[in-house]
Point group: C2
Chain length 405, copies 2
């Protein structure tokens, strides 16, 4: 009983959002500051990058979310506010300014920044932009806010679902920014989720921490773990369902809705990876345990050689085997089967760790599609896992060869 709906982060009751160009970026046509507001205090949880070099906004957000409650999110693009001597001060100021404009406590504001590392962030354009941003807040503002957090993204990323909890219609939506510096085992990129479901802060945290292990932590664009990534969820309870305070059917239904939204965003982020022309999805089956399945799936989508081969629509399955072999997982490589799949069909290319004859022509036809599944069967158990990535292209090099200047 779940369906995709429009509205992104404003699909759920009681949320408004906006995005403006305040002047952090020189390009006037690109929004660079976004705001999300919940009418009422919301349960809030977040997960953060595991990089030891952490953006100042993460430190501030972490402190603000200690009580599990928030009402607003302020986020700029164009500058990561990381490795700056006055970074904490600037991040605190962003919360103070947003709090002032919204008449809420600065401690109820989540702050995030994305962009170049190590360049001073001037508070002036942000201070000038926040009042305008607060004025623009609207229940139609999800796309604007999604635009304001984009960096090298080429596609705006938002999604929402409708589902039921305790007889009440609930909604959960999200926006994301992705593109580069994205790698598994961290809280990966900027994702803001909102829901009107009623759920206690501790259960919200549990839901998010569990979900990201199978979603954002299984996503790699380039093997680089950003300093600023975080995934935040607000749950304001306005749907009126009985508050979720423990595991059970309602918690599972919430998890299912959350997972639908996060998988959707993962696929959007991977497919719009820097320079990407293809979404790669590695589906590992037959693993002895979940750790093995995840390690193998991630290793395959992270292989530069395989990523380049996929760009060239080259069925070079030896690179899949190679990536499985160096993944660190305890795998019997002589049992591994590999196939490539796309809307054009499926073609087995390796059986029991060795090549099998296949039509190069058919393989090419399959691999020329925009979404490619790499199917790996380890034939050693019952566990599965999926990882997402993208191909490695000329444009990745172009984008990153001269991003800063």
């Amino acid at each position: 009983m779940m369906k995709l709906i429009d509205g992104g982060i404003c699909a759920a009751k009681g949320y408004k959002a906006a995005g403006v160009h305040c002047g952090i970026r020189k390009n006037h046509s690109k929004k660079d500051l976004s705001l999300i507001l919940s009418e009422v205090p919301a349960s809030a949880a977040a997960v953060y990058t595991t990089n030891l070099v952490k953006g100042a906004p993460l430190t501030v957000t972490k402190a603000h979310l200690e009580n599990g409650i928030a009402r607003a999110v302020i986020c700029n693009s164009g500058n990561a506010n990381t490795c700056n001597a006055n970074g904490l001060e600037i991040a605190e100021q962003m919360c103070a300014l947003a709090g002032q404009a919204l008449s809420i406590a600065p401690e109820d504001v989540v702050v995030a920044s994305t962009g170049v590392i190590g360049q001073p962030l001037d508070i002036a354009p942000i201070a000038a932009g926040i009042p305008e941003l607060a004025e623009h807040l609207s229940t139609e503002g999800s796309a604007e806010a999604a635009e304001g957090i984009m960096t090298t993204d080429t596609v705006l990323k938002e999604v929402a679902v409708e589902f039921e909890l305790g007889g009440r219609t609930c909604r959960l939506g999200g926006i994301a920014k992705g593109s580069g510096m994205i790698h598994p085992n961290m809280a990966t990129m900027l994702v803001f989720l909102t829901t009107d479901a009623a759920i206690a802060p501790a259960m919200l945290k549990k839901a998010l921490s569990t979900d990201i292990q199978a979603t954002f932590n299984m996503l790699s664009i380039d093997g680089d773990t950003s300093t600023n990534d975080m995934v935040t969820v607000l749950a304001n309870g306005l749907a009126g369902n009985p508050e979720i305070t423990a595991e059970g059917d309602d918690f599972n239904a919430f998890m299912a809705a959350l997972n639908t939204v996060t998988v959707h965003l993962c696929r959007m982020i991977a497919g719009d990876g820097e320079g990407a022309t293809k979404l790669l999805e590695c589906v590992v089956t037959g693993a002895a345990d979940i750790q093995t399945a995840r390690t193998v799936a991630k290793s395959v989508v992270c292989s530069s050689l395989l990523k380049a081969a996929m760009f060239g629509a080259d069925a070079n399955w030896g690179r899949v085997l190679c990536a499985i072999g160096y993944s660190g997982a305890d795998v019997d490589v002589n049992r591994v089967d590999v196939a490539f799949k796309s809307p054009k069909g499926v073609i087995p290319v390796c059986k029991n760790g060795a090549g099998i004859p296949f039509s190069e022509e058919k393989a090419k036809e399959i691999l020329l599609e925009k979404e490619i599944e790499i199917l790996v069967n380890l034939n050693s158990g019952e566990t599965s896992s999926t990882a997402w990535g993208c191909d490695l292209t000329y444009d990745y090099v172009k984008i990153n060869g001269d991003y800063r200047t």
Copy 2:
């Protein structure tokens, strides 16, 4: 008292080598089969890839080197003989054919293959080529042999040094093939080393295993660990020095010669990485321990984002900090200093984990050079380490987007 000399793997007494085109590759102008012969039985040692998917030649070589003695090396390019049902049989046949042509036991032959994974390797062209190869063996054959093992390499890689042991002049030389699928913590690529020094097999093994930790295991082209990589050394004792049978001055002198050759080859391999326009050398100083120094240095040269920035001569030092932060090493990021260095000068860009003002113009001038040092001072101890890599370029994508077909 060590000096670089010509002659590569034939610089030391008692070695001959050759390379021919036997027909594994379609391109007739590219040699694809190489042979090295020691006049007399030599102490022999090797280190192998840690990839679970291992080329069949590695299994055969490992068995042949169990007694620590070898006389010849046969190596083809154009096909890795990996993930083939009859791979072991083919690798054994290569040794048998070489042994026959050289009138030595097949068990005294080291075998290696490099090229595409998972395509059947036809023994016919090899069988036809080996007699010609044996006839061509010459003390001038190092460059020919180096050419025969090249894959996407653009530069032939050989080097040799002369040094003294126990009053006798010794020589040690090597050839290597590199380019793609090269990543630290494995025995990385194909390297064949020869020396006329007298050293017991156990000490030779110890010397090699120790050396590679600071050399070939600190080298990354693309983060992919090949299935076929190995480093082999033969020591035939013809220099007449008292055999090295324990640690001490002679062992240290041998280690120094070995290290000179292996560092030289590392730099050649990194500088000629697939598509590379620049050699990157990350020098980490001030580390609390060697593991930290190595982990940080490797993480920096492995960062796709930094590699792309270096291609664009962009002093994006935030990506250096980012790579240090996610390396997994226990580092106080607030003490880290970063500078870029090349023949054009040195420019500090980060002090105590935060940006410092610098001339973009001067930075550009420095980074436009072909050899770039990334200097990282952790300011937390006395230990140093160096890692080698290359920039990420359009040509890497081009080479790997359509390598197989």
